[in-house]
Amino acid sequence: MGFREIYEFIQMTLFFGDETLQVGDKKYNPLILFTIITSIMNGKELILGEYGSGKTTSAERISCLTKYLPLEFIQAATIHGHPEQTEEKIKATLDLGALEKEGKEVIKWKILPFSPSIIIDEVNRLPVGKQSMILNEIDRNIWSYRGETLIFSSGKAFFGTINYQDAGTTRLIPPLLDRFDIAVETSILHPVRKRLVRRGIDDSILRDAEFSEEIIKYIMDSSISERAREIEKYISEVSDEFRSVLERRIREEGYNIHLPDAKEMERIRDEIYSMPISPDVELLLDYIGQEVYCQLGINKDYSKCQGCHYTNYLCSDIFSISNRAEKSIFTYSKALAWWNEDGEVDIGHLIAVLPFALWHRTSISDRKLSEVREKEKDVSDEFFAVDDAIKKVKRRWEEHRIYQIEALNHLKKGEYDEIEELFSLTGHPFFKSLLRS
């Protein structure tokens, strides 16, 4: 399968980073791995880091190699977040010539809706309303402007980059953050890798200015709603063409990599979606899902944690795990199991994905953040806090797993008294939740 070799190729030549993600017994560079997976699955990824740490570059280069389009095209389709962005600059505009001369409203779509990979640089600098508009449209791949609508059958991968909070940035609001399946930070670089970065990275293998111009010209010349299908088909054809170009160029560099075509990509996605889930994964997710709920009322507020019986549980560390988050966790865990060529999704895959799928979309209590802020780490405080909280839940779960299975068996038989006993033995919200009728 080509993607594992693509990963190696990127890690060796195009984007350097330390392999800090442990999946079972293997280690990966999380940024490269999750960006490739997001491309395959047409997911949404948020990339965080300091200025010039390679957030946009990584998304652009990896998109080239997974969507098979020249770097210049991907860059042309990249949106730069700032408060003065408008729908007309991002998505579509009226053909002013036709409006002036013929009084007709002809909508001219921009490149963005047709690009299979969308990157928004500094997405947090877009005003909230515009973040919402774009994310909604990417989510459904349905684009509307002045009464006209484009509906695409093929999915899109979406990458948003974000600088750590500084002056001039708008905070992304929680419902928008929840749209991102996964969030990855650019890592601290090993000195040897730093040396390579200093010398400059040659990405000419991904470039083709002429071809990009040709693609952009084609789209711009025919970007009316009636020809959308034609453009979509065209993009798929040029992508297949550039796939062969990339394969040849990579071969010339001494790597023999097969880049999967559209049909193979479809098959890969099917394989990922049909990856079996181990019962332990379901048990742990059930356990975490109940532990995160506030037991003192649905309107959660960390100030209630003081003196609460459940104060050492996950509920006092992180705010919530949304349904969208659970879906992302499932999909990305399956993708990791597929990537590792494991037979099923197990706890190792789940534990690897959980912090990446949660840390950006849930608020973390001040107490938890304060606990970890002075610990040595090479990730952000927020990521570390979520990772630490998850590890602690996992340990509790391992202790209670056997009781959990027992309780579920009692539930099948309607033996609530026995479940009650298990609840008093463990004091854990999971067991209490089974008693809810």
């Binding site: 309303g129 610990k375 340990r395």
Partner: protein, 481 residues
């Protein structure tokens, strides 16, 4: 030939190690090496040492041995914190390290057998050579748990029965303590000298600091100090300033609301939005509207405070009373110190600096700064009279610039009139009144004298009052002096 054998051994060990890790849900021991003795290599990454003796065991017994070692980090004791706590509970036992290690082994082994269905652990005990009476008892115990029988002498049988009455898998803190003490009484006289696989001394200073911080959050002050003393006796150096660690960690539990500055200056164009019919013509942006006034095309500027508006937290000065009427933080819990630390920590974590004026017989002060010295100045106990050098404070605040002032006292300030006159001139003042230290009605009367419009008072009678502290301001940033 010998080389081939060792490659074979390494491959076999790797295969088994990986399998065991997977079955134990990937514990934090991610690597191993083959060594003379089995044990662990501590450091940045925890590594398992598989002893050469163990490599001679059959596959299942080797699996059991590796699983037992890994389960010490997957299940119990899991962290240095538990190890320290357990040895602290066993402080009256001379052989506490050995008892603790044996107890942890029992818990890890039972967890493997009963919770994880890892029967290979029994194969390990069946094949390993017992090195003392404690090993014989442990083996008999595990066999009995698994439904088997081992013949042992009468006195051992009695001990075995006592052990069988302990629910080792109940690891709630209270139960764990009782179980450990019961176990200690059973095995104390049996234990012959052996070196535990995990010892306090194996851990570095950083790991010890982290474990102590975690313990400080859980133990009460006197217990924590006692634990630090015990560690000091065992390790190379004393634990420095245990009371400071305790207050600092305890204070992490509390978030103090600090109202940020808000700017109410002029508005600037900040965003391009749709122009609406009721919009003002002045807001219309002809360039972004392509010169057209068409619904949906026409755009306007939305106005807002300018970019980069300052929502930062200002520096703070904690004026803390450490006179004799206040609780001595090293002897009993001082809510003044705890509250002050919570306030200071919240300012520091928001990027601000904190200055301290510690007053009693004299004002001992440090200018607004960051780092440990802030906490050192807060915890300093003078224990003398209660005189606040107002002139000194005035000069200090003038030098410090626009800062939030938080005063912490029981109200027993002797020169309250002078203090009251000065504080009434401040833009705002937050007073944390430590009611638990109030020893006479006179103090209550005195505190009322500083109650002015610009003063916010929070009463602290016990620890649960600390989260209600909030630092509010009475003027906007542009109105500050």
């Amino acid at each position: 030939m010998r080389e081939n054998k060792s490659i074979e051994n390494a491959e076999r060990a790797e295969k088994i190690f990986k399998e065991v890790r997977r079955r134990l849900y990937y514990p934090p021991v991610t690597d191993f090496e083959i060594s003379e003795e089995s044990g662990f290599i501590f450091g940045r990454r925890l590594k398992l040492k598989i002893g050469e003796k163990d490599l001679k065991l059959p596959d299942d017994a080797l699996k059991g041995s590796i699983a037992l070692n890994l389960n010490l980090w997957a299940s119990h004791p899991y962290s240095l914190k538990t190890i320290l706590l357990e040895e602290f509970w066993l402080r009256d036992f001379e052989k506490r390290s050995q008892i603790r290690a044996l107890f942890d082994e029992v818990v890890a082994a039972i967890d493997l057998l009963l919770n994880r269905g890892f029967d290979e652990v029994l194969d390990y005990y069946r094949t390993r050579k017992a090195e003392g009476k404690q090993d014989i008892l442990l083996y008999a115990f595990l066999e009995r748990i698994a439904g088997g029988e081992v013949s042992i002498d009468e006195s051992m049988e009695r001990k075995l029965k006592e052990m069988l009455e302990i629910n080792f898998l109940d690891r709630r803190e209270m139960r764990l303590r009782l179980n450990l003490l019961r176990f200690a009484k059973i095995v104390d006289e049996l234990i012959e000298t052996f070196s535990p696989k995990i010892k306090q001394e194996d851990f570095g200073e950083k790991e010890m600091d982290e474990a102590l911080k975690e313990l400080a959050r859980e133990l009460d002050q006197s217990e924590f100090q006692e634990l630090c003393q015990l560690i000091g006796k065992k390790t190379t150096g004393e634990v420095k300033k245990p009371e400071k660690i305790w207050y600092m960690e305890r204070s992490r539990k509390y978030s103090i609301y600090i109202q940020p500055y808000s700017m109410t200056g002029s508005l600037y164009p900040s965003e391009i939005r749709e122009f609406e019919f009721d919009g003002s013509v002045e807001e219309f942006s002809p360039i972004d509207s392509y010169g057209k006034l068409i619904p949906g095309i026409a755009k306007k500027y939305a106005y807002d405070d300018f970019e980069g508006r300052d929502f930062s937290i200002p520096d703070a000065v904690v004026v803390i009373d450490s006179s004799g009427s206040m609780a001595d933080p090293s002897k009993s819990i001082s809510y003044a110190v705890l509250g002050a630390m919570a306030v200071a920590r919240n300012y520091l974590e928001n990027g601000a600096r904190v200055g301290v004026v510690n007053f009693s017989n004299e004002n001992i002060s440090i200018p607004p700064s960051r780092g440990e010295r802030v906490f050192d100045a807060i915890i300093l106990y003078q224990g003398g009279g209660t005189h606040l050098d107002v002139e000194g404070l005035k000069n200090y605040l003038r030098d410090a610039g626009g800062v939030d002032v938080i005063m912490i006292t029981d109200g027993g300030i002797e020169n309250i009139e002078e203090v009251s006159e000065f504080t009434s001139q401040l833009n705002s003042l937050t007073v944390i009144w430590i009611k638990s230290d109030v020893s006479s009605d006179e103090f209550s009367k005195r505190i009322k004298k500083i109650l002015k419009k610009n003063v916010n008072v929070f009463e602290v009678k016990n620890e649960s009052d600390i989260p209600s502290i909030a630092v509010k301001r009475f003027v906007e940033v542009f109105g500050r002096c």
